[in-house]
Each structure stands twice: as structure tokens, then as C-alpha cells.
């Protein structure tokens, strides 16, 4: 979730009504944002990703003013007609097919406001724009641009201009290789044969989206009064929303919005379009979902508190709202305006029968016996690494379910057995009292035929560790467990490199292998820096459950 640092004075001015600190805190939280902190200068707040329209001082102030009923209801934004024309050439189709544009005039900018606008642009990039992949936003000083503007794509070799924060003209390739912004976002143009450009009627390059603006015509300064705004990307609907969010925020800073005419081949389009969309609301549906008994007037008022208009069962959705997919989204805003703390919390009168998972119940019975045998339960992560699973156990590496991406070192594979985890625990507990007799019940993972290509099993692993730990003791544990379950088992001698030869066995029930058991080989103990004998067993609980409770 993006965190924005908003200028508190500016927000308070834009609300147009003084709120106490407590009120401000409460209202910001009840709007459905996560307030971090309010200082004298700043409001630091996390904005949920469904509300990109709140990512600016203007946007937050607008919603707060509506919520406190200072400026109730739909805020209408006007657009002025104009001759500003943008021509979208076919060459962009293969790299970044769409753009939508607007001009905003009469801005009264200063250092703080430029900061606000840049923050809005950056946060929109990160969230709604998915790090510029989905939407890239450009804002330019209008006075340096001659219309019509062309949106076109050229081979990188033909592109050369002075990007922001650079002293001279450099080529497109140099921008991607050397410029800090180019290096950060260059991957978005990877494999592209042509790069998109905005070029004005003087043949000046405005920018190379989604990377960077030009220093000469693409830098907004304090004296800038009028700006040209464009959003480029792959989905017209998304781009239009994004443009609306920006121009509405600029309009709240006294801006006057001018339409632009876009030409896509022989199709023309006018942007921005700030007319509210309409959606029907069924008041009975809202009441049923919320468990309330709201009248039409209540619903109207609550919607208006959230910035909507309401007329004849129809809701007018402001053009900057990007999150209204379904009537249920309106219901949620009604609930937010109503106040989550005002709902009477009740348990419904519906009868259902509880049922514990049968396997879980079975597992608990096994654990009862193990506790009675004085074993201590441990809990490990499922994530581990191949060195622990195989090398340290004197085994050859086997096919293992492994992670494609792990941030934590030493945790890049899913465990295929549990005994290595137990030895790791014992090696970390050498300072503690012996005997150390431990067990764990947990998952193991193998490749196999299933929906995911991974077979998961629950296993029980037990390790006994003290000066006299031997095969007899671990077999006694196995024996008492199976005799409690009233099961007869067989043990067959096996060779297993992790165990001492002649002291390792495979346990089976009715011919089905179910466990292995043995004394851990001293060279394995050495690998784990253990100087106390260990004997261990690992039992397939999933299969054991299947044997006891056949489907």
C-alpha cells in the first residue's frame, strides 16, 4: 500500500473548514485509509489501492469535505472546449498504443504545490500505473509546446534529446544505459524495436514514455501557469481514469480544464470526459447486505457524504472514482459513510453442525501418546535447503520441490523429509539439558502426479538424543505407538546412508511401507556438529490415517 506525505495546511485549506486534530484523525480513518501519523506539517497516510483518487492533498481534502458534510454530494468538474489536437500515429501500436491528454490552465504553482503534483504523479505511477507499466504520466509546461502534438514511435537509433536532469543531448540507448531513470524503467522497453515519443509541431521531443521527459520542454517550474498532461499505456479505460484523477486534483488547485482532440487513424476522441457515470442502486439489496433499514433519503445522504450524486434510484459516480465495478461497491461506501462502529454486532440465528477435521482428530490422539512418552513437540519451517536435506545427511541430491524466488537465504527448497530439521534443532540445543527427545508433525513435499505436480504428505518424525539413545529406544516408541493403534507392523533391514548399517529399517503395515527407523550414522552427527547419539524415525501419517480410516 502506498504511503503519502500530505501537506497538512494545504489539506485543511482545501477542506475549507477547521477540524480539530481528533476529528481529523477520526475522519481520515473512517474514510478507509490507514493513518500513520499527523504532525504539524504533515499528514502521513496509507491509501488503499482501490482509491488512487485520494493520493493527493486535493483528493483527500475533497473526500473529507464531503464526509463531514461541509461540501456534500457530487462535485462537478467542467471542461472547456479547445483546439488542442493530438495525433496518434500507427507506429505506437506495437509498443504503447494509447494516450489520453488534457490541458489545465490558470494554475497558481509554488514549490510546495509542484511537490504535491509530483507526488501524485509518482504514487499513481507506482499503484494504479503498476510502476509505469500500465500507465505512464507526463506533465509539461504548456508555453513551451506548439500543437498539434504527435504520439509516435521511432527506432531508438533515431532518437536523441536532453532528458530531465541531464546536461546535454544523449541517444535513447544512452538514456536506458546511463540515466538513472532510464536504468530503473528501461526494462519496460526491453525487446521493443521502436520507442514511443511525444513530439510537438516544432519537432521538439516532449518525452519518451514511460521513461522520461525532456529537460527543455518537459520541466514544470514555479512560474508555470498552464500545463499539458498525458497518460500513455495499453488500456484506454484505465488511462482515462488516471487522467481524470490528475485533472480533477489540478482543478481543485484553481485549474481550468481544457479538452484535447485525439486522432486515432480515422477515429476521433475528446478527453478528458468528466461526466459522472450512472449506476442503479437497489435500496433493498443494500439493506439486506448491511442488515439495516435505510430509507431512500438516508441512502441519498450517505452516498452524498461519499461524494456521489443521487437521483431517482440512480447513483452518479464521480469521474475520478476508479473502483466502482459493481453495485456492491456503492453498498460499501454507504456502510463507510454510515460508520462501521455504528453497526449493531449480532450473531445470526442459523443452525449448523460443527465438525472437526477427522485427520486432525486422529493426529491429536497420536500426539497424546507421544506426550505420554515424554517427548517434546517442535515446529519447523517447511522451507529449507538441499544442503540440509541431502549433503549433511550423507545422501545424493534428489529431485526436490524448489522455490523460483526466495528472499531468505538458506530457504529455497521445500522439505522432502523432517529428520534433518530435527537434527538441526538438536545441534542448536547442545547447551540444554539431556535427554532431548523431540517430535514434529508436519508437511513434506515431493514431485508427483497431482493438480500442482506436488504431492504433500503429513509425517511424524521423532528423534531421541542422549548418551544412551539407541535403536531399541526408538523402536520401543514405534512399538508403543503401533500397539496403541492395535496395528501389527514389520521391520525389514535396509541400507540407508543416514543411518548406521545394520541398525536401520523400513517399517511396513500389510506390505505397505510406512516409516523408516534407525540410529543416525556418526558421520551424519558429525556433519551437524552433534556429539551425542541420536536415533530417529519418520512415519507417513497421511498413509497411516488412510489405513485406519479407509475412504
Amino acid at each position: 500500500m502506498p504511503t503519502v506525505n500530505l501537506n497538512r495546511k494545504e489539506v485543511e485549506n482545501l477542506i475549507g473548514k477547521k477540524l480539530s486534530l481528533e476529528e481529523l484523525k477520526e475522519k481520515i480513518t473512517s474514510l478507509g485509509t490507514d493513518l500513520d501519523e499527523i504532525t504539524d506539517e504533515e499528514i502521513i497516510v496509507e491509501i488503499f489501492p482501490n482509491r488512487p483518487d485520494l493520493l493527493s492533498e486535493a483528493g483527500l481534502a475533497r473526500s473529507l469535505a464531503q464526509l463531514i458534510e461541509h461540501k456534500l454530494g457530487l462535485k462537478r468538474y467542467k471542461t472547456e472546449k479547445s483546439d488542442y489536437k493530438i495525433i496518434i500515429e500507427d507506429s505506437v501500436k506495437q509498443v504503447r498504443p494509447y494516450t489520453v491528454c488534457a490541458v489545465v490552465k490558470n494554475l497558481n504553482l509554488n514549490e510546495a504545490r509542484i511537490k504535491e503534483i509530483i507526488q501524485l504523479q509518482e504514487k499513481l505511477h507506482i499503484t494504479y500505473g503498476r510502476n509505469r507499466k500500465k500507465v505512464a504520466i507526463g506533465i509539461y509546461p504548456l508555453e513551451k509546446i506548439k500543437f498539434p502534438i504527435r504520439f509516435l514511435a521511432k527506432s531508438p537509433n533515431e532518437i536523441k534529446f536532453q532528458p530531465l536532469d541531464s546536461n546535454n543531448e544523449i541517444s535513447a540507448n544512452e538514456i536506458l544505459e546511463k540515466h538513472s531513470t532510464g536504468k530503473e524503467y528501461g526494462h519496460l522497453l526491453k525487446d521493443a524495436k521502436v520507442y514511443p515519443l511525444f513530439i510537438d509541431a516544432n519537432n521538439n521531443i516532449l518525452s519518451m514514455p514511460p521513461i522520461i521527459n525532456s529537460e527543455k520542454v518537459g520541466r514544470v517550474a514555479e512560474k508555470t501557469k498552464d500545463v499539458f498532461v498525458e497518460c500513455s499505456g495499453f488500456d484506454l479505460k484505465v488511462l482515462k481514469k488516471c487522467l481524470n484523477i490528475i485533472v480533477c486534483a489540478l482543478a481543485d488547485l484553481n485549474g481550468i480544464i481544457y479538452e484535447n482532440e485525439l486522432t486515432y487513424g480515422n477515429k476521433k476522441e475528446i478527453t478528458p470526459n468528466l461526466e459522472p457515470e450512472e449506476m442503479r442502486i437497489n435500496i433493498n439489496y443494500a439493506n439486506k447486505i448491511l442488515g439495516l433499514d435505510l430509507k431512500e433519503n438516508d441512502v441519498k445522504k450517505l452516498l452524498e457524504k461519499m461524494g456521489y450524486g443521487y437521483k431517482d434510484k440512480k447513483v452518479l459516480i464521480p469521474a475520478y472514482r476508479a473502483d466502482i465495478l459493481h453495485e456492491i461497491d456503492l453498498v460499501e461506501d454507504i456502510a463507510i459513510a454510515y460508520g462501521y462502529d455504528k453497526f449493531t454486532e449480532t450473531i445470526p440465528n442459523i443452525a449448523t453442525i460443527a465438525k472437526e477435521d477427522k485427520y486432525y482428530e486422529f493426529k491429536e490422539k497420536i500426539i497424546d501418546i507421544l506426550i505420554g512418552l515424554n517427548l517434546i513437540e517442535v515446529r519447523n519451517y517447511n522451507l529449507t535447503n538441499k544442503n540440509n536435506l541431502y549433503n549433511k545427511m550423507n545422501l545424493n541430491e534428489q529431485e526436490t520441490v524448489s522455490l523460483a524466488n526466495s528472499l531468505s537465504q538458506g530457504y529455497d527448497a521445500l522439505r522432502s523429509w523432517i529428520i534433518p530439521n530435527l537434527l538441526e534443532i538438536l545441534s542448536k540445543n547442545k547447551h540444554n539439558e539431556y535427554p532431548q527427545n523431540i517430535f514434529e508433525i508436519g508437511n513434506i513435499f515431493k514431485k508427483g502426479n497431482s493438480e500442482t505436480g506436488v504431492i504433500e504428505q503429513e509425517r511424524l518424525a521423532i528423534a531421541v538424543c542422549h548418551n544412551k539413545a539407541d535403536f531399541t529406544q526408538i523402536k520401543q516408541i514405534l512399538d508403543s505407538l503401533f500397539s496403541s493403534l492395535d496395528l501389527k507392523y514389520d521391520i525389514k533391514e535396509i541400507e540407508h546412508n543416514s543411518f548406521i548399517s545394520g541398525r536401520a529399517g523400513r517399517v511396513s503395515l500389510n506390505g505397505k511401507n510406512i516409516a523408516y527407523i534407525g540410529e543416525i550414522h556418526p558421520s551424519v552427527l558429525e556433519n551437524w556438529n552433534l556429539e551425542v547419539p541420536v536415533s530417529a524415525l519418520e512415519l507417513n501419517l497421511t498413509d497411516l490415517f488412510g489405513i485406519i480410516y479407509p475412504k
Binding site: E332, L403, E433
Partner: protein, 557 residues
């Protein structure tokens, strides 16, 4: 039975209580004066009177003390009348010094004695000293060999001894150097008498502090010579009787106390008419440890019980899931940040999608909202993206699968699970990559948002958390979306414990076929139990330190 009787003394009536008791083979009549009038609370007094008479006779403190002496204490204590030094006591008692020491420790703990330790420096014979005591000092041997020449003398004495002898004998004018070395008159005198040094060696061992002036000089001189004497520190332990000890020292100590009861005694009834030695029941004992559940599992089982009590069925499922179930079925768009590499563990390989009808619906709901009335996310949904494998990022995946398998006739229905989830995080004091989530859904045409908050409140109350607030939140698959925050008094802070909401129609309808209200919650486990276990670093939950696991307090909420 106690009875009341009026006694007439000098014309006055007085009321008395009487009762007869049997002591060994005698009968005794006990009485208590009540007053001139019968008291109102007569029954109470009667009871009290009987209780007093029948109460076992309290033994005196001294008697108890004597009976509590261990066998070795009983051996050692009487010796202290005559002797107070450890080695001597050991000699007399025929116990090992270590046993005596232990017994003295116990006696001291019972305030019968006070142990004093003394350190003495004792002068003893060293290697050469032992030899010289037998053979005489080298200077004496030297004198005996005279007259003689140096060459010959070297056959009998080493160079050091010759040097010392010559130096010393010259100083005493005991020898003459000419062609050969001869003895003077002084020397002859020395030969006849025992030297001071010889006499000193004979007296050893001596205590350094008690040497007289003359001996001190000899001690210093011999000390500078090679390995004749050595000084050892000797620790001596004395036991002094305390006042209480002096009082009890002449008491006769019982010798036939029973130390431990055993089968033989019971069979032979030999315990009868004997006294058991009194134990100090307050003394420290070596601790033992039981087999134990892992404490996190104790908390998990408690939470499972809460949901079972509320009528929920338990859900379980795999940890490895396709993105389809983990994300797509929950209406999480395919370009959502949660589906990127930095948040989620992906597993190499691809999985299979479920029956094509559900896939078709989910695809449609993402692209255009299908028949749910939603606009959908407006993008081209990819099957390949949905086949990617992940370690489940939430147990909400179990809810999705449960709803998909549910038939309309089975409603109303409630399900819960407590299971592991995974987040691709670097591990630190506040973050783990494996955590638990408490998941639940309630599905019925009649349920609403108020009920969701009702269940959450009930759950937190049962967990012992009474200050809980709900505030708006956002999840792609719920609308309303709720965050539950709880006040933790120990930290004087509100912390976030989990999310909840009502599943969007875009989630429910493709899976169930119809749109029915579904209340859903996914609460974190770990953050909510740290306070109880007094843990501040979340990694401590799974560090598997056996001391911690053995000693951790039980989950008692």
C-alpha cells in the same frame, strides 16, 4: 459425646461442659466452664471443645527438629560436643569428609551450628628437605668428606650443593683452603652438633603465622634455597554450636527413625510404632520436565475450539496451490502486485486448472464481470498465468475451494481453518515467511454485515481481547472490507490483527453458481499471541529452544 451439667458450688449454680476421652489405657474426664447462664451459642462451643480435645497433640518445635535430622546429621551432631574440626569429625564418625560437610550444611540450615572456615599457611618439607632430613644438609656431608680435594668432592655432591656448602662453611670459618680443603676447629664443632636448620626441618609441619623470630629467619633462609621447604594453604573447617545447638546437644537423638517407606516394611508392618524422619518439605528439588505440546499449537487448538463451539466445520488443504485458486478464483486481477515475485513464493513448474466450467466463469468475471452485474477488470485473462504454482499466500484459498465444492442444498454452512500461509519476506524480528491464518466463511442467504462483525467480536472476546475496533479496509475479493484492530494493554497500542469482509459477487457466483452473501475473515495468529507468551521478537515462536519449550507457560485463557 460432650454433655452439659450444672454444678452447685456453695449454693451457686455453674454450668460446665464435660467429655471423657481415652488416652492409651486410661480414661480422662475433661471439662470446660461455661458460665452462670447457659450461653446462646452452646452448640458452637461444644464443637470447639470437642475439636480441641481430639486434635492430635502438636509436637514441640524442638521435637520436630530432632525428628527431621538425617542419618548423617544424627551421626555428626553428637560428635560436636567433643570435637569441632572437619577432619576430626570425619575420623570419629567414619564418614567421608564430603558427607560430613553436607551434614554440617544441613545442620547449619537448621540453625543448630555455624560453620567457620579458616585458612592457614602450613610449612611443609619439600623434595630436597625430605632428603636432607635423612642424609643431613649438603654442607654437613661436605664437612664429613674432608679433608679432600674438589675433584673428589664432585663425585659425591653436585655443583650447586658444593657452591652452597663452600659459601656457607667459609662464612662460618669452618674450612681452610690450601692444597686440599680441611676442617677447622669451628668445622669440627659443627660436625658434632645438630644445626638450627636440621632442628627446624624436624619440627615441620609448622604454621607460618606461629613461627618465633628465630624460626622465621631460618624459614626465610631455607625458603631461598632450592626445594627444601614449601608453604601450603590449608583450609580448616570448624563447626560451632549455636545457642539452639547447645540446647539440643544433650538431647537423646532417636536412632530408629524411618528414612524411606518401602514394600518390605509394609509387608512386615515394621513401620508400626516407629517415627518417620521429618523432611524439610520446603527444600529445593531438581526440576523435572513433562512431554509438551509446542506452545503455538496449544494456542491453535484453543482457537480451533472456539470456532468448533460456534458451529463451524473444519477445512484443510494443500500448501502448494495454483494461482488460479489462490488468486484468480478470488477475483485478484492478474497484474495485482500481490502476484509479483517480491511478495509471493512461486514454485517452479505449472499446475492444472479445474473443470472448464469454473475456469470459463472466472475468466469471464475477470474480463467483463460475467453475469454478476460487474464490469470486471477489463483485461485479457491468461490461463498460463493462472497455472503458476504458489505457496498459498492466505487460507482464503481454502474458502474458495470449499465454496466451489459446495451444493446449494448444503446451505446454511460455516467453515473455518487454522493453517499455514507464506509470504516472501526476509525474516527479521517482526517478519516471518511462514505464518498461520485463522480463516472462516459463513454462507447463507440471510447473513449480513452486522453478523460478520458479530462473529468477529465473539471470537476476540473468547480470545480474551475485549477492546476491538473495526475499520474500513480493502481486499480485492471482499466488499465490505474490514480491518480488525485490537488494543493491547501491555503495549498501550492498537495493533492490526486481521482482515474480514463479505465476498464480492464476482467471487461467489462463479464458484457457487448463485450469488449468496458470504461472510469471510482471515485473521493472523502470531501477532495476537506474542503478548501472552511475553515474546517481542516474532522469530522466538519457532526457534525451538528446548529450555523455552519445556518451561513455557500453558495456554490458559
Amino acid at each position: 459425646m460432650a454433655y452439659v451439667k450444672k454444678v452447685n458450688i456453695k449454693g451457686q449454680d455453674y454450668w460446665y461442659l464435660f467429655h471423657t476421652i481415652r488416652q492409651s489405657n486410661k480414661f480422662l474426664k475433661k471439662s470446660r466452664y461455661l458460665g452462670k447462664e447457659l450461653p446462646k451459642n452452646l452448640e458452637e462451643i461444644k464443637q470447639e471443645f470437642l475439636n480441641e480435645l481430639h486434635a492430635p497433640k502438636e509436637k514441640s518445635e524442638k521435637e520436630k527438629l530432632i525428628e527431621s535430622l538425617t542419618p548423617s546429621e544424627r551421626k555428626v551432631f553428637p560428635i560436636l560436643k567433643e570435637e569441632n574440626e572437619l577432619s576430626k569429625i570425619a575420623e570419629i564418625s567414619r564418614l567421608q569428609q564430603i558427607e560430613v560437610l553436607r551434614a554440617l550444611g544441613w545442620l547449619e540450615a537448621k540453625n543448630l551450628i555455624k560453620i567457620n572456615k579458616e585458612e592457614k599457611e602450613i610449612i611443609n618439607l619439600d623434595k630436597n628437605g625430605l632428603i636432607y632430613l635423612k642424609k643431613g644438609f649438603p654442607e654437613k656431608q661436605f664437612l664429613k668428606l674432608l679433608p679432600n680435594n674438589l675433584e673428589n668432592l664432585r663425585k659425591h655432591l653436585n655443583q650447586d650443593e658444593i657452591n652452597v656448602s663452600i659459601g656457607k662453611l667459609k662464612r662460618l670459618n669452618a674450612i681452610n683452603f690450601k692444597k686440599e680443603i680441611t676442617v677447622t676447629d669451628e668445622g669440627n664443632k659443627l660436625l658434632r652438633e645438630k644445626s638450627k636448620e636440621e632442628l627446624f626441618l624436624k619440627k615441620l609441619p609448622l604454621e607460618l603465622l606461629k613461627l618465633n623470630k628465630e624460626d622465621k629467619l631460618i624459614y626465610n633462609e631455607l625458603g631461598s634455597r632450592k626445594e627444601i621447604i614449601k608453604t601450603d594453604v590449608k583450609k580448616t573447617i570448624y563447626a560451632g554450636l549455636t545457642d539452639l545447638g547447645k540446647e539440643l546437644i544433650n538431647h537423646k537423638l532417636k536412632t530408629n527413625l524411618i528414612e524411606s517407606l518401602n514394600q518390605e516394611m509394609l509387608l512386615k508392618k515394621s513401620w508400626k510404632n516407629k517415627t518417620f524422619r521429618r523432611f524439610n518439605i520446603q527444600s529445593e528439588i531438581p526440576r523435572i520436565y513433562p512431554g509438551r505440546r509446542h506452545f503455538v499449537n496449544e494456542a491453535i487448538n484453543y482457537i480451533r475450539k472456539i470456532w468448533l463451539e460456534l458451529g463451524f466445520k473444519e477445512m484443510t488443504g494443500n500448501l502448494v496451490q495454483t494461482s488460479f485458486w489462490n488468486f484468480d478464483a478470488l477475483f485478484v486481477p492478474q497484474d495485482h502486485p500481490a502476484r509479483e515475485m517480491q511478495d509471493t513464493f512461486f514454485i517452479n513448474g505449472k499446475g492444472k486448472l479445474p473443470n472448464s466450467e469454473i475456469v470459463k466463469r472466472v475468466k469471464a468475471v475477470h474480463e467483463n464481470g460475467w453475469t454478476t452485474g460487474s464490469s470486471g477488470w477489463n483485461y485479457k485473462w491468461s490461463e498460463e498465468e493462472a497455472k503458476k504454482l504458489v505457496l498459498r499466500t492466505h487460507t482464503t484459498v481454502l474458502s474458495a475451494r470449499t465454496i466451489a465444492a459446495l451444493r446449494k442444498e448444503e446451505l446454511p454452512a460455516k467453515f473455518f481453518s487454522v493453517g499455514k500461509i507464506f509470504r516472501n519476506e526476509a525474516i527479521d524480528w517482526a517478519h516471518l515467511f511462514e505464518l498461520h491464518q485463522i480463516e472462516g466463511i459463513i454462507i447463507d442467504e440471510s447473513v449480513n454485515f452486522k453478523n460478520l462483525l458479530g462473529y468477529l467480536r465473539e471470537y476476540y472476546n473468547k480470545l480474551g481481547i475485549d477492546k476491538v475496533k473495526f475499520r474500513p479496509s480493502y481486499y480485492p475479493y471482499t466488499e465490505m472490507s474490514v480491518d480488525c484492530i485490537a488494543y493491547i494493554p501491555e503495549r498501550n497500542k492498537w495493533i492490526e490483527l486481521g482482515g474480514a469482509g463479505m465476498f464480492r459477487p464476482e467471487v461467489v457466483k462463479p464458484l457457487l453458481g448463485i450469488n449468496v452473501p458470504v461472510l469471510a475473515f482471515g485473521q493472523g495468529l502470531e501477532r495476537g499471541i506474542l503478548e501472552y507468551y511475553k515474546i517481542t521478537d516474532i522469530r522466538e515462536l519457532y526457534k525451538n529452544d528446548l529450555k523455552q519449550l519445556r518451561e513455557m507457560r500453558l495456554w490458559m485463557k
